[in-house]
Symmetry: C2
Subunit: 322 residues, 2 copies
């Protein structure tokens, strides 16, 4: 099978989206954007051995390759529409391709995303997905809009993905049932797209938590020229992580919850006056949303422990070139 | 230096394009597309050891990473506007980064392309660029519009890039002065953007010659449901390749000219009635354009040698999974 037959068999599908004027199979894909909308673009590159372990289930990898990009759309308040996928593969492995595309398209179909183009080549396994979304003109949620006294919120629970990775890497041990749940958070994260869309015009700033809460929240603070104070006690976590925080593994638990990557939850800010509106949105989209602290005029991020004492050191965010 | 400082220092620049509402530095980039235009998307992934040799001058690599994508825009008749770059790098090498971004931005500036987003990670060197262009709605040039009796054209000259690669790999030898010219074609191809824009509403089909003329023209034939007959004698080539065709290295010369990759010229079709218009366009944009044959109703590609005899075998196009 050659490169073009591979694309035909595994990646080319009928596209029902009428905005797609030309899909896979030409030098470029052609889209008629929705009038009155801005377009939002993001790209993520996943490298074997760095973003995913060699031998990971290709179905979950297909899911995650798209999910991490959908999460960026959620953080912008954008509705994801179209994707392009470039991939380097070490070999032509039909079992892998079937699994990967199954996971990818299952998630794409759930969110109405059409794969409109891409590139395939041989090389060390590397998956690079570009996502394109739309927002009504001028409504994209930026990192730069947080203002003093705004509330700081987090969706879902934090830290389970990092905990699962620690177990897979042999540096932590937890019960099998807890591990299964945490591993699902690591391998098949659920992008908070519906929440992000509802936060347009509501949140003052947003980011997705992909590198760890403290590092990602710091990006909002830097872009907005503000600080924040958040409370460990309020940060949403699973029962398993909660138990770690109360015991001998407290430091590892804190590191996973505050500095772990791969959560793909949203961290966002909003004025105090919108607390009830945000609670209603959370109910509507069926995603837990927790208020974890406040924006401060003074720069810097303060994380207070259960007794209100600031943590002396914050876990470092993941940094590929640190 | 961490990942974010690296992006700030090497990739983040002031963007003067007013359509760019939000550039590098958030979860997504935001663009206000031009009213009445379709958007055209393409992505190319370049892998070290496959698309470029380890140790290649990073300045030329930066040029080529963007040039191959601009060439796709040219083939669609699109005006390139914005780009996202994802890159895996084996190490943090400031000399490499300075050179790469110098080559990339020099070409981007020439074509008015703004880098609006990206991703950086560690990994085997891999560069994945997504390009976004615009065309007046409905005017993108497709592969599928070629009709019987249309002329087949090629821009520039073909085969020099493949010839240079053969020399670098030790399978061919040519004079130093000829090699320098051919190597420039391989390492710093000139995308035919202005020609592509002028071919909107003129060409019936177009493709960029990146995998070899016969393979790429075959894509037009497949998409259009037609055949073609082209003449070796008419295919534009450099004096060096011309000399090979007349001597002992004829087969290698034919393989480079018909089946070599990396030319990044345009192959396009147009009705016979537009011969003068196309000659005028070629003069206006200062790019040689040569008529090499005709579209036929009968499927299949026939390549005739200098005596009019069909070649019994056509060189295979480059195929990453063949």
């Amino acid at each position: 099978m050659n490169e073009f037959a591979l694309i035909d068999r595994y990646f080319r599908r009928a596209v029902s989206d009428k905005a797609v004027r030309l899909s896979i199979g030409d030098d470029g894909a052609v889209i008629a954007p929705s009038p009155g909308c801005d377009l939002v673009f993001s790209v993520d590159m996943l490298v074997e051995g760095r973003h995913f372990l060699a031998g990971v289930d290709p179905v979950t990898l297909g899911h995650k390759t798209l999910a991490v990009n959908l999460s960026d759309m959620a953080a912008m308040g954008a509705t994801p529409r179209w994707a392009l996928l470039a991939g380097a593969l070490p070999d032509f492995d039909e079992v892998w391709l079937r699994g990967f595309t199954q996971g990818l398209f299952a998630l794409a179909d759930r969110f109405g995303v059409a794969l409109i183009g891409g590139d395939t080549t041989r090389g060390p396994r590397n998956l690079c997905l570009t996502i394109i979304g739309e927002v009504p003109a001028g409504t994209a949620i930026k990192r730069s809009g947080a203002r003093p006294d705004d509330d700081v919120y987090v969706s879902g629970v934090l830290g389970d993905a990092a905990l699962a990775l620690s177990v897979l890497q042999g540096s932590a041990r937890i019960a099998d049932a807890e591990f299964a749940k945490a591993r699902a958070r690591l391998e098949t994260p659920e992008p908070r797209v519906a929440l992000g869309e509802r936060l347009r015009g509501v949140a003052t700033a947003a980011i997705d938590v992909s590198d760890g809460l403290t590092g990602d929240l710091q990006h909002i603070l830097d872009a907005s020229g503000v600080g924040a104070s958040i409370d460990v006690a309020r940060i949403p976590r699973s029962p398993c992580l909660d138990a770690m925080l109360g015991g001998a593994a407290r430091d590892a638990g804190l590191a996973s919850m505050l500095g772990g990557g791969d959560d793909y939850e949203l961290c966002f800010t909003a004025t105090v006056s919108l607390r009830e509106a945000i609670a209603a949105i959370a109910r509507d989209v069926d995603v837990p949303v927790t208020r974890v602290g406040s924006i401060t005029a003074v720069p810097g991020l303060v994380v207070r422990d259960e007794r209100g004492v600031p943590l002396p050191l914050l876990p470092r965010s993941f940094d590929h070139f640190g």
